[in-house]
Structures are given as structure tokens and as C-alpha cells.
Symmetry: D2
Subunit: 333 residues, 4 copies
């Protein structure tokens, strides 16, 4: 049995508590938040977990094996560092850290103390993304021609970072997981109306004519989620909001011939292609991530959303932030 | 009765013929295409229109009052020029011309010969766009904070221009109609897999923190159309594919306060705002454009999608093409 | 070349004219309607067709080979009879006639004069229904366990018949085409708020535990169309309004075992079944029907929506009307 | 603080436990199920609740103030009776009982012992149904012309009752809440393929030309939920699966004039009516029901889904079952 502490009980933390509480191999022994009101609210639901406003207490508790951190981004580095230095395993909410340097230090430290450092890039653990990865790796999709992701809704629940650092980590981690190599350069544009950027566009150049684009937005009156992968043999649509058919596979791809007539022929046949929606495991991604975290601690698995993965995501976000700061100038990684 | 000739009977031309044939004030007297097969096919349906492969015949025919041009973009300038020089009115398929210089010449010529020069920016004549313009001009929407338009589907039916010149004219003309001033600068990115760019993103900076973005794509396995207008009081969603509720008005906007708590409050109330979908005239936009063209010829109206409007659209497309050519470098208009 | 006359130019007639005009093997030589205004409107679009308010003229014209009748239901019998007696082929708008006796007379007469009698049950000619028929006949679907069809929208455009006779012919003809045998009995319920029934439910008992139900409604504020076929191996959903995926095939069916645990197991696996949407020919069903009518006249084909098919549909509607008149009493065919 | 026990921890029970655990005024002190495995699973998540396989223990426990019963329908009467006789308040899962007689006895007993008897007709407590009731009572909707409810999906999770008793209680309770009077008669049809009826249609005649129809189905490959209220002034659509716009109000209704032309005019204007989707409280209906149950125990409120309401629902289900048993014969209440 692994004793877990959860720090940060705002929007996301309670989901971590619920899943660690439901997992047969973990016990939630400590809950931590600087806000006593939040602690009081959760204490009633989990009477057996010790509640505290002091993170030091959590780190100093020898009975705690692992800590899940769901606090503001600016605190990730300090808190995760102290957890690792105390010889405990750590699960950090995305993004791993607010700077590349801090993310690099955490990765190095985890390696040094031989503890599990995992980032809560929850979508990477979803059956939908796993299925897309499988379809790309198996060659079903063929060459990936473009990726386009839209993640827009009313937001601004998190005030310590802008929409880029709040929402784009999801898309960047999914793309990193699917493509398996870092982009060569990044162009990002956006605008802010309340202090922090609330609208942003990222364009990741992966070379080989592969452009991956992401639109994140806190001001959209409608919630839109779609993730498109255009392939030379088949194309994929992942729509998180389509509960019954989250992933669709579109038969036939685009023959990248230079003969326009040829292209037209292919496209016309493409237009009439079949659509296939594979069956997906309905399990909650976060519960799968929690089980995976347990396996990694037990040495039965290697982290999918590892510290290195989280670091690659932070590198892209950092480059995007610099591009944003220079009005969309291209930033090379 | 206005005698009309239609040149170019590929994908769009037959729609022009059908609408001019249905309009009570116009008669289709001549049909022109370089392809005899196309002429043969349409001759059977419109036996009373004289068919020809010679555009010169059309221009020289004194009984022809106006010509609608639906030929490849590269031919727009030459054909429209000859029509205007022959003292006839002209409706040109979008975009007005392949270069800013040609578009400027056509606008000047039309002014000189005092004939109607109209561009077939058909969406500007749709009840949906008219309604959005009304809601913005009346102040209902408040400050426009962002515009985001997605127009993606399987395409590549037109081979003389890339996806930017093929699809983006729709979005740029709608945005120009709604905002009523040209953007200050443009950033465009894209990629090509069959010779011509088949994926492109445009970012138009209108100043005052207003960024208007457009995604056009010929390789998408799914057809997606949405046009979002984020406002400080209300926001709009125009979804061409939602036949029963094409335009939705989302109550409440974003208070652009710098106090994050304040923003959160506003956003939370926003989240629970009403949604309103106004009744819209169900008429086919192209039939309204045809009637409007007739009114302009009769001097009863001034063109909405005028030559000047078409020129502004070409200026944006030209700037976007140059940005595309320089890997997304910002191009100032 | 087959010379065609079209009688009845209200809502549907013009679609027949357009398709017969576009068909390479037919020429529209005569247009007939009792309303001169309608004739005037269509004359401009089809200047070469002779317009008349006298149906007798059409019947007496020796150059007319076939007549398409899109007039009110109450007139179908008399008009179709005179066409057949004049030795011409006839396409009758659905339903074939207002009574079983009239429908039987037309079927007998057509057989006697050896002319084609076809009913415009247009959906039976749609690629979606053809695909469903293929999937059922091939055994893919297994045993058909239930059929449920919903066809509701704002209506009341047709005043000579109620919603049962106006909309249900579509569903009854599709079901007849798929099941290939008449129901044993019918139960129908409904209500009327403006004289004619505007809401109606049909329940057709086909024996073998197969119940086929239809909901037709003129008062629905939303347009809903779905046609469900529940099968023991696979199930089908035909949604006319889902343009990109009109027919969906749901993998796995229900094992009609009596062991509840067994059923639960099967259903759980079913729940996680794949979804497949086959490619469909995009052609307009009415154009396919017109070509099929031509083939039947030329003796190259036997009518799919034949007089006999139309008669079976009228028998069901007549039984349903009697059930409706007796508050839902079961009527045996 | 009210001490609550929950009996029956299958599909629904855990939701009751979660909501009673989250409610500030209630404490879950006892959990009861005949299956030790289920008890073991829930014990870990709620370590402070005493678990037992003996319902008698729960009833005999003087510290228990109220019991929520989520056991099979056949046991509702016996269990609820013993709870009331022990002087405790009771919340019974829908339907209240398996027979009219048992439901009547429970209502009488609760009145006699002066304890709260509430039925878990959860939808009646949803913001969507509350809003529809408000729109009907305020006269916004005008005369209710028809109600049509579809509740179909893959099911058969509950084996002690058929689809009629499993799913239709939801629709019948909503209709009862909206109309506020019992139907005059019921017609029900259905079929069974695995022992129990898995497809059923209910038609409730409320007089005044008001027909309310319900389709419940365990074999549907797709999950469909819609609840339509057709009104003479406005019409309502409640779609539980449309998270962002659960209730839509369609402007204008049907003038029940007998002049067909008049109707057509009205309907044409109706067709172009506005659509309005009011803001709704996003709270989970079950949490509102739990709070309402607390208020009723405290004497601060009178039960919305009272025993009498639950009895009216059982009367309709019983009549429908008898109609089903007689092949759709009309059964008068």
C-alpha cells in the first residue's frame, strides 16, 4: 500500500484525491492547502486523511511515500524539489514548471535521487490518445501531413498563468506523444484583454512539411474541442465532447502527387471514404494515470508522462511565450 | 429586363446561371466556356441561351448588358477589363483579381466608365452575416475582442490558386464587412503537400487588441465551419452547417477588468448566460446577391461587395501570401 | 428521347421538372397546373415546355410519352387512370391513391394496358435505404428486433390529407422495402388541433416479435429524422440530416438469450462495439428515381417503387386511418 | 445533523452515498447490501460508515434518522414499510413500488406515522424540468398540444423489471409534474426478445386533444434523449444530452384555427421563429433532491416527488402494463 499526500485542493486537486482514494493500491493519508476553508470542505468527505496548511509537515512525514502537487504553476518547482529531496515520489500537475531551467533541475534531481517524477499530462493517458498513437505508429495513418487542435471555452479560472500555460500543455503533450520528436521552431500569436493573454495560437514546425497548430482561448462563448490529424493514408478526428464516438478514422488519404489531376482523383475518392469509430476503453484517464503512477513506483513500468516528457512540453511553451512576446517572431528550439 | 452572360461553367458558374435564370429582372442570353463538353451539358438545360467558346463574342454582343465571370482567378483581370471597356456591368467571382495592381486597375476602370463592378463575395450577402453586422453596429456585441474563423474540408477542386486564395476570400470579406477597416498587419503560415499550399492560417492584427484569425484547409477529412466573434458584451457564433440555428448570440461578455477576481466573477456569470438564436431570412444568399446586382445596375443601390471591398480583400490576401512566403514574417499593409 | 409532362407545380412538382429536365433521356414537353400564377413562374425557367391549365390537353397530346403527377392525393386516381387509359406511362406522387380500392384499380389497369405505373416513394431510391436493405438481406444485421422511425417537423403545407397520409408514406414504404412482407396488424394513435390530425403514431406488428413504429408530426418545433433498425447481430441508424454519415452500423447485436446474466454480458460488450459508416453514393435520390423510371419504360428494369409497392403502402395507411378513427383499436390487414 | 443509511449499493446506490456524504446536513452512518463484495468495495471509500448485510440492523439502529432505498423494485414495499414503521424517514428509488396497492399502503402508512416518504424521481428536481414547469405554468407555452419523450439506449442492467418499469418512471413523473393531473387512459405496446419487454411505447390520453407519448428502449445502439412539449404559443425541447443548451424555447406556436390557410400562415411565421435557451443552474439534480429531502425532514418544505406523486406514477405504469398485456388495448385509469 502506497501512502499518498495531495497538495493543492482548488479545481483539480479534489479529482486527484478522489482517484487516489478509489485506487486499491494507494491510501490518501494527508491533504494540504494554504486555504483552511478548502481543507474544511474536503475533511468531511475524507475524515481519515490528516489535513494541514503546512507543506513542510507533508514533506517531513516519513509515512508519506508519494506526493501529488496541484498547486499554482509558480510553486511547482519548489514543492516538487522538496518532495524529491525528502526521497519521496512526486506527481506534478501540468505544466511541470514555469521555466525550462526549473524543469531541467527537477528532471536531474529525480534521476539523482532515483525517485519517480511524473507530470499529470492526463490526456496522454486517455484511451483516445493511446488509440491515435497506435494508429500512427502502426502506419495506418501514413505520413502525418498536419495537426490542428482547438481547445476553447470560457475560462480564466487560473490566474497565475496565461491561456498558453493553462490550456496548451494538454495539446503540446498530446502532439509530443504522437510525433515523438520536438518541433524545430515555434510561432505564437495572441492577445490579452484582462492582463493575461486569454487568446493564443501556437504553430509548431516539425519539418517535413508538418505544421502542428493549436488554438487555445478563454473567451470563447462555446466549448469546442477537436484534434485533427491529417494523414497520407487515413486521417483522424478526436473530439473529446463526442462521448459515443470520440475517435473517428477517415478512410483514404491524400496522395501527395504533384499532378493536380491526380490529386483531384484521389480527393474525390477520399471524399467518399468510409468512416470508422473504434471501440475505446471507457475508463477515466486520471484513474489510469494513478494506476500507472503506482506501477512506476513499483518499478513495473516507465512513466509515459515522464519528467523528460514534461520538460519537452515546457521547452515548447517557453519558446511560444517568447514568440508571443515578440509579436509572433519565429523562435527556434 | 437585363440581358446577362455567364462565363465559366465549372463548379460555381452553373449556380450563377440558375439564379440569373430564376431572377424576374434578368435573362441569361449567353453562356461561355472554353470547354465544349461543359457547354453541351448546360445547353440542354437552358436551350434559349446562346452558347459559345469565344469570350470576345460575348463582349462584342451589344444585346448583353452585364457579364458574370466565374473563370480561373488568373483570367479575372483580362476578362473583367474587356467587359468594362465594352461598357457593360460586371460581376466577378472572388477574389477580384490575382494581384493588388490588377484589382486597383479594375476599380479605377469601373469608376471611369461608370459601370457596376461587383465581386461575388456571396457570404457578405447572407442573412447570417447581415445579422452579425447589425448586432455589432448596434453595440449589442460591445467591443470586438477576437474573431476566429475555421473553414476546412476536403478540397483542391481549383488548381490555379492555393487554399489561401481559394477559401480565405470568404472569411476576409466577412471580417472586412464586420470590422469596416483594414488590418494593420498580417501573419500567415501554411504548408503544401501537392505543390500548392493546402493548409493555411491567417492572423490579422486590427490593433486595439483585436486579433482576427482564419484557418483554411483542403485536407481536412471533416467539413467544419464556424465563425466566432468574442465581444465585451455579447459573443456570436455563426455556424453555416447548423441549418436551424445558424447564428447564436451568447448573453453577457467579458469585463476587461484587470482585477482577476473581478474577471472570474464576470466569467462565472457569463458561463450561465442565456443563448439566443434570432430568426433569419431563409433566402439563398446568391439570389439576394443577384437581386442586389440588378438594383445596383438600376442605380437603386450601392454595391455591398463592391470593387473597393474586393480590392481590400485582395490586399489582405496579397500580404498573407508574402508572409507565407517568408515563413510567417509579419507583413504590414 | 422520352417526352414527359409534369402535372401539379406546387411544392414537389418543380423538383420533378428540374430532374426530368436534367436527365439526358427525357424532355419536359408540357407543364400543367390549375393555377396560372404557378405556370407563369415556371414558364420563365423552362421556356420550351408548353404550359397549360388543362390536364385533358396533356392526356390528349400524342407526343407525350409519360406523365408525372404531383397533384393533391384526392386527384391521383382520376388523373393516373386517364393517363394509363391514354396508353401513357405514369409516375404518381406518394401516396398512390386515397383509398385501397382506387390503388388496386390503378395497379390492375397498368397491368392491363401494359404501361409503367410507378410511385414516387423517393426514399426507397436513396443510397441510404439501399444500403440498409443490402445489410439486412446479406444477414449482417441478423434478425430484425425492432424498427423505430421519427419524422417530425413544422408542416401542414398540404391540406387535403392529414399528417398520416402526408408523411408516413415515406416510412411505411421504407419499412416495406426493408422487411419485404406486409404487417399483420396496425395500431395508430394521434390528435388534431386544426381539423386534420397533425400528430400521429403508427405501430406495425410484423409478427416474430418485430414491432415497427413511426412517429409523424407537423407541430414539432425541431426537425428530427431518424430511422433505427435494431438487429440481433448489428444495428443500423439512418439519419437523413447527418450529411457526412447518413448510415451508421453498430457492431455486435443482442443475444436473445433468456439468461439475464448472459444478456448483461453481451450488452456490455455491445456497448463497447465499433461504429462504422459506409461510403454512400451522393446522388440525389430523385434523379436516381427518374433514371430508374426511364429504365422501366425502356424495359431495362422492373420498378422498385412499383404500383404493387404503392398499393401495400396504401393498405397500411388505410388500416392506420381506421385504427386512428377508433382510438387506437388494433386493425388486422 | 441527520444520520442517513443507504440500502442497495448496485448501480444507483453509490450516487446516493456520494451525495449524502457531500451534503453538509447529513452523515452516512450505515451502508447495507446483501452482497459482501459490494460492501467491501464501498467500505474503503467511506471508512466511517458501518457496513452490514442485514437490513434489520439498519432499521433497528436508533441513531439512524432516515433510510435511502436503492434495492430491486420488488423489495421496495417491504423495506420502506419497515423503515416507516420504525419511525424513520424514507427515500425510495423509483418506482415507489411494484403495485398500486403497495404504493397506496406506503402513502397511507407515511401519513399515519407522520414521516417523510419521498420517491427518487430525480428528473423532477432537475433545473431543466423546473424551467419547463415554470414556462408552462406562466402561460408562456400556451395550451399544451402534445408531449413526446424518447429515452432509448443500451440497457437491461436491471433484471427484476422490464423496460417500462425501469425507464418510463422518469418520463411519467416529468409529465405528471408538468401537467399536474392524471391521464384518462393509457395505451401501451412493446415487445420482448430476452424474456422481459425491452422495447415499449406509452400513449397517455389527457383529454383536451392532449396526447403524451413515451418511447423507452433497451436495445437502441445509440443513446437518445429528447422531451418535446408542443404548445399553442411556444414549444419546448429538453435534451438532456445537450449540455450547453439543455432546454430550448421555440418562439411562436400553432394557432389552432380551422382555416387551413390561416394555419399555413401561422406555421410559416413559426418556422422563422427565434430560439431561446435560458440559463440553468448547473447543480447535480440528485444533490438538489438530497437537500430537498433534508428540508422536508426539517419541515421547511413539502416533498415535490412525494409519495402521492410516486403513487400517481405507479398507477400509470400499472395501467400501461395491463395494456401491454392485452396487445395495446386501451386501459382507463
Amino acid at each position: 500500500m502506497i501512502n499518498v499526500a495531495v497538495a493543492g485542493l482548488g479545481y483539480w486537486g479534489p479529482n486527484l484525491v478522489r482517484n487516489f482514494n478509489a485506487c486499491a493500491d494507494t491510501t490518501v493519508v494527508r491533504l494540504c492547502d494554504t486555504d483552511p476553508v478548502r481543507l474544511g470542505a474536503i475533511r468531511r468527505q475524507y475524515p481519515n486523511a490528516t489535513c494541514t496548511t503546512s507543506f513542510a509537515e507533508v514533506v517531513d512525514d516519513p509515512t508519506v511515500d508519494a506526493v501529488a502537487i496541484a498547486t499554482p504553476v509558480s510553486t511547482h518547482y519548489e514543492l516538487a524539489r522538496s518532495v524529491l529531496e525528502a526521497g519521496k515520489h512526486v506527481l506534478v500537475e501540468k505544466p511541470l514548471a514555469g521555466s525550462v531551467a526549473d524543469a531541467e533541475r527537477l528532471v536531474a534531481l529525480a534521476k539523482h535521487v532515483r525517485r519517480v517524477l511524473m507530470v499529470d499530462h492526463v490526456f496522454v493517458h486517455s484511451p483516445s490518445v493511446q488509440k491515435m498513437a497506435e494508429l500512427i505508429q502502426s502506419g495506418e495513418v501514413g505520413d502525418v501531413l498536419f495537426i490542428d487542435s482547438v481547445r476553447i471555452n470560457l475560462g480564466l479560472m487560473q490566474h497565475d498563468v496565461n491561456v498558453l500555460w493553462d490550456l496548451a500543455p494538454h495539446d503540446v503533450s498530446i502532439i509530443d506523444h504522437l510525433i515523438g520528436r520536438p518541433p524545430r521552431s515555434v510561432v505564437a500569436l495572441g492577445s490579452s484583454h484582462g492582463g493575461l493573454e486569454d487568446v493564443a495560437y501556437l504553430h509548431l514546425d516539425y519539418g517535413d512539411k508538418l505544421l502542428a497548430s493549436v488554438h487555445v482561448n478563454w473567451l470563447s462563448p462555446v466549448k469546442v474541442r477537436y484534434f485533427l490529424v491529417g494523414g497520407s493514408r487515413r486521417s483522424l478526428l478526436y473530439d473529446e465532447l463526442n462521448f459515443s464516438e470520440r475517435v473517428k478514422v477517415y478512410d483514404r488519404g491524400v496522395d501527395v502527387s504533384n499532378d493536380p489531376e491526380g490529386i483531384r482523383q484521389v480527393l474525390i475518392s477520399y471524399r467518399s471514404g468510409d468512416v470508422f469509430s473504434p471501440r475505446l476503453d471507457g475508463k477515466e484517464p486520471l484513474s489510469k494515470l494513478v494506476e500507472h503512477f503506482v506501477d512506476c513506483i513499483a518499478g513495473r513500468a516507465v512513466p509515459i508522462s515522464s519528467g523528460e516528457h514534461g520538460l519537452r512540453v515546457v521547452r515548447v511553451l517557453d519558446a511560444a511565450q517568447r514568440s508571443l512576446g515578440h509579436g509572433g517572431a519565429r523562435v527556434t528550439l
